[in-house]
């Protein structure tokens, strides 16, 4: 009963934070109070979320990182934590309007998608899931900044004034934050690919789900690698990097979707 209460409190807190962020962006001027309230409520939601994950894991008697049930939920929690930690330093306050609703969706998703927690064992798999969850959290934030970048860039190119004028982070700050998030997430993704490949090689099921997961995972890695390399070599930044980041994140989500729908037993431990 207590766990249920914490779950619903988490959902309500994320929902309120979402409304506060959107309200701040939608108001034509001012909104300083709403600006402060959004991150505060989101922080409360993150604390409740962490409490829910811990309580639910204890009751289910399973380590969260070994639980498919919590993978997406924990990725969202980590993304929220990262956002709260970096929002001032990287000048990405408005990204909360992306993080809050996505976290809300993932929390609800973890509840209703994937009914049971199959037993996932082995140290290698624990490392694999941990790095991938961390990586997904970073890519979630990176794709959020990429979306904001595209919105802001389009407005500036088309010379449109809007109520969010001056409220979204500067373009360069978004571009830099997105690049940094990819830079941190990419080694984790690489480690996830290596551990996933090793695990897949060990169990050798060769099921279609496993093949699809591996394919999407490699595509994710190639896309993120291309974004980083082209930026370093040819100066591909801004819009092109944003599109690449969003595409990479969609592949990462595809891996997760296959994972959640088919479960690890379709080939326990895909590439991510």
């Amino acid at each position: 009963m207590g766990v249920e209460l914490v779950f619903y409190a988490t959902v309500v807190a994320y929902a309120v934070a979402t409304v506060l962020f959107f309200r701040y962006l939608a108001r034509p001027a001012g909104g300083a109070d709403t600006r402060k309230m959004g991150p505060r409520v989101l922080a409360v939601a993150a604390v409740l979320h962490a409490a829910y994950v811990c309580l639910a894991s204890v009751i289910a008697n399973v380590c969260p990182v070994k639980s498919i049930h919590f993978v997406a939920s924990i990725a969202a929690l980590l993304a929220t934590g990262l956002y709260l930690a970096m929002r001032r330093r990287w000048n990405i306050d408005a990204l909360g309007a992306f993080v809050a609703p996505v976290s809300l969706t993932f929390v609800l998703g973890s509840r209703f998608v994937g009914a049971a927690d199959p037993a996932v064992g082995g140290g290698l798999l624990a490392v694999h899931v941990t790095v991938n969850v961390l990586g997904d959290a970073l890519f979630l934030l990176a794709s959020g900044t990429a979306v904001l970048y595209l919105v802001e860039e389009r407005r500036l190119k088309q010379k449109r004034a809007s109520s969010v004028f001056g409220k979204l982070p500067p373009l360069d700050a978004l571009d830099l934050a997105e690049h940094r998030l990819l830079l941190i997430g990419f080694p984790l993704l690489t480690l996830g690919i290596i551990t996933g490949t090793a695990w897949a090689h060990r169990i050798e099921t060769g099921s279609p789900a496993e093949m699809a997961r591996a394919l999407f995972a490699y595509a994710t890695w190639v896309l993120f690698a291309a974004v980083l390399v082209l930026r370093a070599l040819l100066g591909w930044r801004g819009r092109r990097a944003a599109y690449g980041t969003i595409a990479g994140f969609l592949f990462a989500v595809a891996v997760l979707v296959v994972y959640l729908i088919r479960g690890p037993l379709g080939g326990a431990g895909g590439a991510t």
């Binding site: 000048n91 802001e152 500036l156 190119k157 010379k159 004034a161 004028f165 001056g166 979204l168 982070p169 500067p170 373009l171 360069d172 700050a173 930026r231 040819l234 100066g235 591909w236 930044r237 801004g238 819009r239 092109r240």
Partner: protein
């Protein structure tokens, strides 16, 4: 009588307006050309980045002369555009005549027709236009009065309404946009290409925000001078392309006829910059920067219309003040219209008063040199005063009624009757010819908006002072001298 022909941001996009862009020397030449045309007696050209309009006064106040004046001004504008391509200009030209033209002039001066309602620059631009027209010999009695009233109205609007308060300038919006792209501007480089007044304003704000200034100008001396003023560096004009590699914000405001920054130049610069964002602010008309550069990734280009639109949208809350200002302008335009209408009967009134006074004065003079020659100077003065008072009293009602019917179709019959009864036709013609050739009186309103009250009695119509002045002339030529 007065007509205005031209186009503005309301009906013509920037690519049309820039075909009619003309410098101060060009404006003077344009006006001289117009004034050599028999249909035009007076002419004034208001040329800004948002409009080019020519105000002209025809030879006489008739439909035929008004049409001829409109045609002459239209031809002048088409000829002006001819250098850059006159095709398609005519549909954009708007024409106002008589009261509508005066109202338009007042609205323009009061910044009610500006893209950014309430912006202060238009007042200075109107003064410049007036000076240029004076130099070109385009200002006569009518336009002098009209433009000075317009400046007076503009000042009233600024002081009696809050239309100019909390004004966002184009320069400040440009700096806000730069912040939207780069965030903090400390350490960024602002490149000033050319040096217009507005560009310098934007550069000043960027420097204040922490940016370094780099100046590129065709005149190396001017570039050095500006760089010194803002504590920045300067580069020769030939190094503009390399300066683009180092700059983050580029403010262009040269008077070049074509693009000084092309898409190819920016494309090369962006490769060298490895895709770093570049923000162009093009304040020049005609434009300095090829609009196609906005299509390049990470390049943002805002021209004068884009910036003005953003400012205008941010000023939506000023509608109530704008409505108050419109009422004020309308009131002033009506007062001016009344003066214009009485202008047509002024010569008749002047001639009538002069005739009556001359008759009385001649009789008094004869008596003073005959039976009353023993009178002392004091008594003679008293007689002069008595004659003046008698003329005023006698003609007060006829004068008031002639003025009252000035705007009425029956007024013409009345005026003709007066001409016939007092045999005034020749005198009226002489007075009208003298009025047309008279240089305008130095208008004190340019420096003091309340000046009319010091020239004419309080509450007097604008025409009253004119009557008084002309009567004073008649009196000076007068008949009481010994």
């Amino acid at each position: 009588m007065i007509v205005v022909v031209g186009l503005s941001h309301r009906e013509a996009p920037l690519e049309v307006r820039e075909r009619l862009a003309v410098e101060a020397d060009g404006v003077a030449g344009l006006l001289r050309g117009l004034l050599s045309c028999p249909a035009i007696r007076e002419a004034l050209c208001v040329s800004t980045c948002n409009r080019i309009e020519i105000y002209a006064v025809g030879q006489q106040d008739s439909d035929e002369h008004t049409r001829a004046a409109v045609e002459a001004v239209q031809n002048a504008l088409v000829e002006l555009a001819g250098r850059n391509g006159a095709e398609g200009i005519v549909p954009y030209l708007k024409t106002h005549v008589r009261r509508d033209a005066v109202l338009h002039l007042f609205r323009v001066a009061a910044s009610l027709d500006s893209l950014v309602v309430g912006e202060p620059q238009i007042l200075g631009q109107m003064r410049e236009a007036l000076e240029t027209a004076k130099t070109a010999g385009g200002i006569g009695k009518y336009l002098d009065r009209a433009t000075n009233r317009a400046l007076h109205v503009a000042k009233r609007v600024r002081t009696e309404t809050a239309i100019g308060e909390g004004q966002m300038s184009i320069a400040s919006v440009a700096v806000d946009l730069a912040r939207q792209i780069f965030g903090e501007l400390t350490g960024r480089t602002a490149l000033l290409v050319g040096a217009g007044e507005m560009a310098e304003g934007a550069a000043k704000l960027l420097v204040k925000a922490g940016a370094k200034l780099l100046v590129v100008n065709r005149s190396p001396e001017r570039a050095r001078q500006l760089a010194l003023e803002f504590g920045g560096g300067s580069r020769p004009w030939e190094e503009l392309a390399t300066a683009l590699v180092d700059a983050d914000v580029v403010i262009a405001s040269t008077s070049a006829k074509g693009f000084v920054v092309t898409r190819a130049t920016v494309g090369k610069a962006m490769k060298a910059r490895r895709g770093r964002s570049l923000f162009f602010i093009d304040i020049a008309v005609p434009r300095d920067i090829d609009p196609a550069v906005n299509d390049i990734d990470n390049v943002y280009l805002y021209d004068i219309d884009n910036l003005s639109n953003l400012v205008a949208e941010s000023m939506q809350g000023r509608r109530a003040e704008a409505e108050r200002a419109e009422e004020l302008v309308q009131h002033e335009a009506n007062a001016f219209g009344t003066w214009t209408e009485t202008l047509g009967v002024t010569a008749t009134i002047v001639a009538l008063r002069a005739k009556v006074r001359a008759s009385l004065a001649a009789e008094v003079e004869r008596t003073l040199t005959g039976r009353l020659k023993h009178l002392a100077d004091g008594d003679r003065k008293a007689l002069e005063t008595m004659v003046d008072a008698a003329v005023n009293k006698l003609l007060h009602t006829p004068t008031t009624r002639i003025k009252a019917l000035a705007a009425d179709p029956r007024g013409d019959d009345l005026v003709k009757a007066v001409h016939h009864l007092f045999d005034l036709a020749d005198t009226v013609r002489d007075i009208e010819a003298a009025q047309a050739n008279d240089p305008p009186a130095k208008e004190e309103e340019t420096s003091s908006p309340d000046a009319p009250a010091t020239r004419a009695p309080a509450g007097a119509s604008p025409g009253a002072s004119s009557d008084a002045a002309t009567l004073a002339d008649v009196r000076e030529r007068g008949t009481f001298g010994r």
